[in-house]
Symmetry: C2
């Protein structure tokens, strides 16, 4: 029997994975709500739009990775809140900008009208810009919550790299250029390692950085996990874009092929894409195997990423 | 005789203000060039566009404030480079986004086609997004250059606040909502304190944070200076928008009135706007007077800001 299924308790903790997930989901929602300016704070419309973009939706995969990696290094939960808010705000800002007419021009996100549809294009741009600033600012608050200043500097460097031109924003630029082109599997993997993998990997690193220092072999294993799980996430995304309908996804289904974007399904075929997702999950598990019982949450998260339906 | 005119040497330094300015201008250009990814680094088009947006233009007022405030606290020059690059990259990203069609829709900046004209709208959005991430990442590098980790955390919090929804991005949102409306002088001041003042004030604070700790009275004086000089900058901008031509400004002149935006000139009249700029300069000087000879560069910078012609 798999000790890491949703119903099983993780050694050393009181909660089953399902219970832990629900607890973390409520926790990140509270933390985001507290870090976002109040809806009646001036300028109110901007703050309302920022809250609309961030609260009440999303799978919160990146915060889960932060909390999961933080369990491995015994990090203070309140420091992890700061890191979890930071990565989720970066993710939320990227969705707002990505949905705009000059990018993917999408009207539906998390089952709601996209920010530019609800608040206008200029406001959507500012929402993204302000969320990115708030994400970084959020890291600074970890110092008062049990993280060392040196840990915050590490997180700052990791988040900057993960979000920037060599990470997420760079992946978006490659994605733009790839529309209508045929990519090799290697080029597709490079694009996704940047576009989604970099921020997912940063989430793992930020969570770990909040706690005790890792040894170099531990750090390498955790990085192997982060890279595998980051890529697995995207492969599954591509599969779901073909398989699921819009109401399950909460966003427009089938848009990749409609927009003529290369995906793992278009490059490998649906069946091989599924096989790849599964083998990346195995790679993620194998990287974690030697990290001991503290890594149990991360194992369960990688299972969740591969088995999700939306 | 005014000891702080351009031709006079500042006590304790070898350089006249003019010489110091030229030296800093060359220094920030080198630092920005080194921090920006190379033009042949993948994804090349994004990196070329980022370099286009940042290098070879601009008055570099914010970096000058960083270096000037750093002289006051005896900060290491290489730490100041990191802070100076950070504030200038935030400024550059805000110009790229502000010029886009959904915002001001401007085609000329620093005498060149704006980024979205030269590289397309989607790329302009990503250029701004990636520059903001690189700005924050740049702060982390100050640790290896003589700044303490705690100083970097202070800078991170200040830059996040200055750039975010309560600072620059918030000011832009207020600006959007103000088009075509009549603003009171107080509302106009609030808008500008956020839109341009917040990042200028952050520049002063970041530069000071790289060196020795300030006493509380010193910190308050420096803040009074920063707020006055930040507002003076905007008042002068409004005056120049009416008085100068596009070739002197390097951007489209007269666009505020054309876009029906409230300005200090439209609210106070040209003559009273000039009087206000001059009295803010006096306020800035008076705040610095008790900070001693270390503040001499800041005095000269505030004179420069009020007396500039572009």
């Amino acid at each position: 029997m798999d000790a890491l299924t949703k119903s099983a308790a993780v050694p050393g903790t009181d909660l089953s994975f399902g219970g832990w997930m629900a607890d973390r989901a409520a926790r990140i929602e509270r933390a985001l709500d507290a870090k976002l300016p109040a809806p009646d704070a001036h300028p109110t419309r901007l703050h309302q739009a920022m809250r609309y973009a961030v609260l009440g939706g999303g799978k919160r995969i990146r915060p889960l990775l932060v909390y999961g990696a933080g369990e491995l290094t015994g990090a203070a939960e309140s420091a992890l809140d700061c890191a979890a808010c930071a990565v989720e705000m970066i993710h939320a800002y990227s969705l707002v900008h990505d949905d705009m007419p000059c990018m993917d021009n999408d009207v539906l996100r998390r089952g709601k009208p996209t920010v530019h549809v609800a608040f206008g294009e200029a406001m959507a741009m500012l929402v993204g810009d302000a969320l990115q600033a708030l994400a970084f600012e959020s890291l600074a608050a970890a110092v008062g919550q049990g993280a060392a200043a040196a840990a915050v500097v590490t997180m700052l460097a990791e988040l900057g790299r993960g979000a920037g031109s060599l990470g997420m924003a760079g992946g978006q630029a490659i994605d733009l250029a790839a529309v209508g082109r045929t990519l090799s599997r290697e080029a597709l993997e490079d694009m996704h390692r940047r576009k989604t993998g970099a921020l997912l990997a940063a989430s793992v690193r930020l969570g770990a950085a909040c706690g005790r220092s890792l040894t170099e072999p531990e750090r390498l294993r955790l990085d192997r996990f982060a890279l595998a799980v980051g890529l697995a996430f995207q492969v599954v995304d591509d599969v779901l874009d073909v398989e699921a309908d819009s109401s399950t996804l909460g966003k427009t289904a089938g848009k990749d092929s409609e927009q003529n974007k290369p995906t793992y399904v278009s490059v490998l075929g649906l069946e091989q894409a599924r096989v790849l997702a599964s083998s990346l999950r195995d790679e993620a598990r194998s990287a974690l195997a030697e990290l001991g019982p503290g890594a149990a949450r991360l194992v369960a998260i990688s299972d969740l990423i591969v088995q999700r339906s939306s």
